[in-house]
Amino acid sequence: MPEHTFRVNGEQVTVDVADDVRLLWVLRDLLGITGPKYGCGINVCKACTSHLNGEAVNPCAIPVSDLRPTDEVTTIEGLPATVGRDVDTDLHPMQQAWLNHDVAQCGYCQPGQIMAAVALVHRIVAEGREITDADLDGLRNICRCGTYFRIREAIKAGMAQSP
C-alpha cells in the first residue's frame, strides 16, 4: 500500500493507505483525529472544515495523495497553536468568542464552524476591511440546531480579539 506523508497540527505523519482515500477518513479512521466531523461527504455541509496551509478546506473532498510532505493540515485540535497558544490548556480567540457567546448546542458542526470563521476573518483582515452581513451570509456551514445568529455574533467578537 502506498505511503503518504504530510503534517497535521504541527507533526509529520505518514499513513499507509490507498491514494484515493479522502483526508477526512485518514484523519478520523486512521489517525484518530475526530474534531472534523462527517455531515455529508460531498463538500456541502462543511462540518469537516479544516485548514490546509492556513486556508479553509474540506477534507471529505481531498484524496490523501494530493498532499505533499510539506503540507500543513490544521484541525480544530491544533487551532490554538496557530496563534502560539498551548493546545491542551489555551484557546484560539475565536474559540473563546464561541464560549463567551455560548454558541454550541449539540456541538457537532461547531469545530467546522470555528475553522471556517477563522479562515473568513483571516481573509477579511488581509483585505483590510470590516466584516459585513454579506460575508457572514456567505458562510455555507450547516448548523441544524440553528445557532446561526450566535455564530454571527461570535465571529464579530472573535475578529475584534484576533491577533
Binding site: 479522502r22 461527504g41 457537532y108 441544524r144
Partner: protein, 747 residues
C-alpha cells in the same frame, strides 16, 4: 408568588453505599398526582415517571465532585447544564464540580428514560433537587460531628463554622454515607432564595464542543469496531432481491465484510471512504418498497380522502381554508449511527438514543438474546429534532455485528439519512371559523396526516395509562394530538380532530410534532378573521386570548417589535401565538419579499424572501437557565423559518428526491434574521414548563403571516418554495454519491 413550606417538603432516600448517595423519593411523597389532574401530554409523561422517579440518585465523591447519571439524552438542548444547575443550587456546590453523565438504558426506570415532548426539565425538576438537598443535609450533619458545631454554612462546596474552620464536602463524602438505606424528609430551597436556578449560565459542555474534544458515537474508539455503511434501495423501504457481485466487492481495498441485512447490503471496511466506494460498487437487484409509485400528488389525494368532515357550514359568515404541508426531514447533522459489539452470549451498543429502554428490548429480541445480556450506552448526540427517538442505526449495527461476528461502527450516508430516514409526515389542515358582528362563534380544524410513527416508547406510555386518561378510546396519535393541542383563543365552539392515513413511510415526531402545522394554519385563519372583521391582527389576538400570561407575551413582542410600524411595500410584519408544554410564546417577524431580495444570488441555495427580524417572547413558568432557553428559542426560530419558506422533501416515484444539504434547504446563514431579540418573561410559576420544541410553532406561523401580509395573499402550501425544484436530483443507483476530489480547488 410565595411558595409555602408544605409545598417544599419531600421524602428522599439515603442509599446504602461507601460514599454519600442520595435519591429522590417522590413515588411515596406527597407529590402523588391525582389522575384527574391530567390535562396535557407533559402531565401524562410526568405521571408515568412518578413511581420510579425515586431511583434518580446523586453521588458525592471523595474528590469533592458530585456525580449524576441523567436518565435522558443530551442532543444539544442543554439539559446536562440545567440539571447541573439544579444540583448546584440545592447542594451549594459550584457548577464546575457537578459531573452530569448520561445513564445507560435502565429498564427498571420503565417510562422514566424517554427524552421527548420537551418533558425533561418538567419531569426531573423536583426529584433531582430532592436528592441534592438531601445530600446537602447529610453533609452538614457529618460536618457538625467533624467540627463540633451545628452553626455551619455550606458555600462553594466547603462547610465552614463560625470560627472559619472549613471542611470540603469531598472529605465528608465517606462520613456522610450510610450503611443502610433510609427514608428521610427534606426541605427544598425556596424560589426566593435561588442563587443558581433562574440565572443565565453558559453550557457545561461548551469547552469540549469548541475544542473538538466532545465525543459523539462515531468518535468513540471501540476496539475492532470498523467503519460500516449500508447499500440501500432506490425506493423507500425496498428490500434486497439478489446481489450480483458480493465476492468482487469483498475483494475491494480495505473491505473486510459484505453481508445482506434486512435493510440492504452492509459493508465493513478500514475507512468510511472505502465503505462509500464499496456501497457504490455493489450491483443489487431490489424488491419494491412500501411507497412504490407514490408522489406528492398521490399522497395529497389520499389525505383528501381521509379528511374528517367539518359538518354543515354555519348560517353566519365564515372563513374557510385548507393548507398543505409537504414531507419534511428531521435529519440531524450527525447522521443515524451506532457502534455495536455483538457476541454469542451478549451485546453492547453505543448510540445517541432518546428511548434506550425500548431500543434495548427491541435489539435483544432481534438478536435472540435475553434483554439482560444487552447493554445500551447512551452517547451524547449531534442533534435530534425527534430523529433519535428511534434507533434505526442501532438495530442495523446489531444485526450486522451479529451476522459477521465482529464489532461495527455503522453510519448512514447523508443521502441515506434524507431518503430512507424518518420524516415529518405530509399533512393537510382544513379550518372553518364563523363569526358575527364582533364575535367569533366557532372554530373547527381537521388535521389529516400521513401516519406518525410513535413506536419508540411513547406508545407504551399511552398504552399503560390509556384507561386512566380523559380521552376515551383513542389511538396513540389522536391521544398525542389531543393532549398536545390547545385552543388558546376564545372562539366560541371549537373542535380539532386528527385523522391519519398511510403507514408506508418512515415517519416520526419532528421537533414540535403536529403543532407547527396546526398553529400555522390557525394563525393564518386568525389573520383572515381579523381582516374580515376589520380588526388589527395584534389587537384581535390580544382581545381573544384566554389569559393574562398569554396576553403578556403577545403584548411584549408587539411593544419590543414596534408592531404596526410603517414598512416599505413588499415587506411586512407578522405576529403569532402558541401555547404548549405549560408554556406560552409569541413571535413577531419582519419579512422582505421584494424581488431584489427574493432573487439575490446564492450558489446552490434557496434564497427567497428573507426574514430580517424576529422578536420572540417566551414564558415557560420558571426558566431554570434563561440563557439556555434563549438558545432553544433561537433554534426553534431557525426551524420555523425553514418550515415556512424553504425546507421540504419532494416525493416522486416512491422515493424522496433530496439527498444532500444543498437539496434539503434547512435555514442557512443567508436565511438568518439580521436582528433577533428573545425575551424571557419573568417567572410566573413555581415549576418549569417545557421548552426544547416550544418556539417552532409560533415562529413558523409568524413567518407565514408576515409573508401573507407582505404579498397580500394568504399562503396555503408549505414551505412556500415547494413548487419550485431548486436542484438536480441525484441518482438512486448507486444510492450514495461519489466522494468529490476537488477539495483543494473548492472550499
Amino acid at each position: 408568588m410565595s411558595e409555602s413550606l408544605g409545598r417544599r417538603r419531600f421524602l428522599g432516600y439515603v442509599l446504602a453505599a461507601p460514599t454519600l448517595v442520595t435519591a429522590a423519593g417522590l413515588g411515596s411523597a406527597r407529590a402523588e398526582a391525582d389522575i384527574t389532574d391530567v390535562v396535557d401530554l407533559n402531565d401524562m409523561l410526568t405521571l408515568a415517571a412518578l413511581p420510579t422517579a425515586g431511583l434518580i440518585s446523586v453521588e458525592v465523591n471523595q474528590d469533592g465532585t458530585v456525580s449524576f447519571a441523567l436518565p435522558r439524552a443530551e442532543v444539544g438542548q442543554g439539559i446536562t447544564t440545567s440539571t447541573a444547575m439544579l444540583i448546584a443550587e440545592e447542594l451549594s456546590v459550584p457548577l464546575e464540580r457537578v459531573r452530569v453523565t448520561l445513564a445507560d438504558a435502565r429498564p427498571e426506570l420503565v417510562f422514566n428514560q424517554l427524552t421527548g415532548a420537551s418533558n425533561t426539565t418538567f419531569a426531573t425538576y423536583t426529584p433531582i433537587r430532592v436528592a441534592a438537598a438531601l445530600a446537602q443535609r447529610r453533609l452538614l450533619t457529618a460536618a457538625a460531628t467533624e467540627l463540633g458545631s451545628t452553626d455551619l454554612t455550606l458555600t462553594a462546596g466547603v462547610i465552614t463554622d463560625r470560627s472559619g474552620r472549613g471542611v470540603d464536602i469531598g472529605a465528608l463524602a465517606g462520613k456522610a454515607a450510610s450503611t443502610e438505606t433510609q427514608r428521610v424528609p427534606v426541605e427544598l430551597t425556596s424560589r426566593e432564595s435561588f442563587t443558581v436556578i433562574g440565572r443565565p449560565h453558559n453550557r457545561i459542555d461548551a469547552l469540549d464542543a469548541v475544542t473538538g474534544r466532545k465525543k459523539f458515537a462515531m468518535d468513540l474508539d471501540i476496539p475492532g469496531a470498523l467503519p460500516t455503511m449500508v447499500c440501500r434501495p432506490p425506493t423507500i423501504n425496498g428490500t434486497v432481491g439478489s446481489v450480483a457481485n458480493l465476492a468482487e466487492v469483498r475483494a475491494l481495498p480495505g473491505v473486510t465484510d459484505v453481508v445482506v441485512i434486512a435493510t440492504g447490503v452492509a459493508v465493513r471496511a478500514v475507512t468510511f471512504g472505502q465503505c462509500v466506494d464499496a456501497v457504490r460498487a455493489l450491483r443489487v437487484t431490489w424488491k419494491p418498497g412500501t411507497a412504490e409509485g407514490k408522489s406528492d400528488e398521490t399522497v395529497l389525494r389520499e389525505l383528501e380522502r381521509a379528511e374528517l368532515p367539518l359538518g354543515l357550514p354555519a348560517p353566519t359568515p365564515t372563513v374557510e381554508a385548507r393548507f398543505t404541508f409537504y414531507f419534511r426531514g428531521n435529519s440531524a447533522l450527525e447522521p443515524n449511527c451506532a457502534v455495536a459489539d455483538v457476541r454469542a452470549d451478549r451485546a453492547e451498543i453505543w448510540s445517541s438514543l432518546k428511548s434506550p429502554i425500548v431500543a434495548r428490548q427491541t435489539i435483544a429480541a432481534r438478536l435472540g438474546l435475553p434483554p439482560s445480556r444487552v447493554t445500551v450506552h447512551v452517547v451524547e448526540g449531534g442533534g435530534s429534532f425527534g430523529r433519535k427517538l428511534f434507533f434505526d442505526a442501532a438495530l442495523e449495527a446489531a444485526e450486522v455485528s451479529q451476522k459477521i461476528g465482529k464489532p461495527v461502527k455503522l453510519m448512514w450516508h447523508r443521502a441515506d439519512d434524507c431518503r430512507q430516514g424518518r420524516t415529518h409526515p405530509m399533512a393537510t389542515s382544513r379550518v372553518r371559523a364563523s363569526y358575527l358582528g364582533g364575535a367569533v362563534l366557532s372554530y373547527h380544524q381537521r388535521h389529516t396526516s400521513v401516519a406518525t410513527d410513535l413506536g419508540h416508547g411513547l406508545g407504551e406510555v399511552i398504552t399503560a395509562l390509556a384507561a386512566q386518561l380523559p380521552v376515551g378510546d383513542l389511538g396513540f396519535s389522536e391521544t398525542f394530538f389531543q393532549l398536545s393541542q390547545t385552543m388558546s383563543y376564545n372562539f366560541g365552539i371549537t373542535s380539532r380532530l386528527l385523522n391519519e392515513t398511510d403507514k408506508g413511510f418512515n415517519t416520526g415526531s419532528m421537533r414540535n410534532v403536529y403543532s407547527p402545522d396546526v398553529t400555522c394554519a390557525r394563525e393564518l385563519v386568525v389573520d383572515r378573521l381579523a381582516a374580515r372583521m376589520g380588526r388589527d391582527p395584534y389587537q384581535f389576538r390580544h382581545d381573544h386570548l384566554r389569559d393574562d400570561r398569554s396576553r403578556a407575551v403577545l403584548a411584549k413582542v408587539a411593544e419590543i417589535g414596534e408592531w404596526g410600524r410603517v414598512m416599505p411595500a413588499g415587506t411586512a410584519q407578522g405576529i403569532a401565538f402558541h401555547a404548549e408544554y405549560k408554556a406560552v410564546s409569541a413571535a413577531l417577524v419582519e419579512i422582505d419579499c421584494r424581488p431584489e431580495t427574493v432573487n439575490r444570488p446564492i450558489r446552490d441555495g434557496v434564497t427567497g424572501p428573507r426574514v430580517t427580524k424576529v422578536v420572540f417572547a417566551v414564558d415557560v413558568g420558571l426558566a431554570v437557565n434563561p440563557r439556555g432557553l434563549e438558545a432553544q428559542m433561537m433554534g426553534c426560530i431557525s426551524d420555523g423559518i425553514a418550515l415556512a419558506l424553504t425546507s421540504s422533501l419532494h416525493l416522486r416515484d416512491g422515493y424522496f428526491l433530496e439527498a444532500s444539504w444543498d437539496n434539503y434547504f434547512y435555514t442557512r446563514q443567508w436565511n438568518t434574521p439580521l436582528e433577533l431579540e428573545i425575551i424571557v418573561m419573568p417567572s410566573t410559576s413555581e415549576t418549569p414548563g417545557g421548552a426544547g420544541e416550544l418556539g417552532v410553532a409560533a415562529s413558523m406561523a409568524a413567518v407565514a403571516c408576515a409573508y401573507g401580509r407582505a404579498t397580500g395573499t394568504m399562503p396555503t402550501s408549505f414551505p412556500i418554495n415547494h413548487g419550485t425544484l431548486s436542484f438536480t436530483p441525484k441518482p438512486t443507483v448507486p444510492p450514495i454519491p461519489a466522494s468529490p476530489t476537488d477539495g483543494l480547488r473548492h472550499a
